[in-house]
Subunit: 192 residues, 2 copies
């Protein structure tokens, strides 16, 4: 049986971006990419996101900048944080599998490496162009009830598995929360 690390992410989350950059360096590890809507998850869990607390927000910015520096990750704190990632996350579900990896990289890099306001349609279009994704089809599909429900459903499923934040790793039915817990997830993975 092939083993996996489930990686729950939302493009809005700077810590998910840092985790993704760490994951990219891993070799011979199977990752299941699990898109969720972080705002929806917080709502289900009765959690106020750190972005909405002045002191936590300030700490998160400093903390992310230190982590990025220590891990040689190009990172710029995006002043348009937090923004609504709904279209972007629906987009991940709307596109065919062959585009997903490129779209995933391009969205994360645009928001957390290149300081781009990805809530603006013109910037989203630039991402689609870069990924050679058909704009018309994309914008139609992200309005589709099927896609909308799919993101809701995936978020509910994550919540049912006790996920309450992003990034979260689940491996061997064990949950690890936070980019700095990727090592623990890998330990669990290697112990299987």
């Amino acid at each position: 049986m092939t083993k996996f690390i489930d990686f729950y992410f939302d493009f809005i989350s700077p810590y998910s971006f840092l985790a993704y950059k760490k994951i990219k360096l891993l070799k011979d590890i199977n990752i299941n990419y699990k898109p969720i809507l972080l705002g929806g998850l917080h709502k289900l869990g009765g959690i106020t996101a750190p972005a909405f607390n002045e002191r936590k927000m300030k700490n998160m910015k400093n903390d992310c900048e230190i982590i990025a520096k220590k891990n040689d990750i190009q990172f710029i704190w995006n002043n348009k944080f937090p923004l609504n990632s709904l279209s972007l996350m629906r987009g991940y579900l709307a596109i065919s599998d062959e585009y997903k990896e490129n779209y995933f990289n391009t969205c994360f890099n645009a928001y957390w490496r290149d300081n781009i306001d990805i809530s603006l349609e013109e910037n989203l279009i630039e991402i689609l162009n870069k990924c050679k994704i058909d704009k018309g089809l994309f914008f139609n599909k992200i309005k589709d009830e099927k896609i909308k429900n799919q993101l809701k459903e995936l978020t509910n499923l994550a919540f049912d598995k006790n996920v309450f934040g992003a990034p979260t790793f689940i491996v061997n039915d064990k949950l690890f929360w936070g980019q700095d817990r990727l090592d623990y997830a890998l330990d669990e993975y290697n112990s299987i």
Copy 2:
């Protein structure tokens, strides 16, 4: 000028306990022990403690147990968590300096190493006996308005410095939150 790491703690906090065990292994580092009332701090900051969220609580228990294991720290999750640490924290301020270190160690170990309900007066008395602290004097002093106000004042001062959780380290005016950020605090300390 002597340099310091300010270490903000509350006995109620399992992550403060883990940080304290790591700090004990450090050599040639000056630590300023900064008692605060975590509940009061959360209230000032409009923060709901993870202990009051089912999923966060479950994650915290697992996470602390892994950290303890990885760092060879004797640790038992206390089922009487969370409890009111007010008397204990006031006690830290009430006793004279010569008793503080022993009292500090004994309270933390009782709660997070030995699984003792430190909110019970009989268990608090045992801690005082171990530390050879005069019970009568102790119980009088923790009811004293001066001590009560001192803990409030220290918590307010911490909040003014942007502290919002425990453990927090402040060094060179830079704030680091969480036992897993002790390394960053040490990097800052060593850079001075």
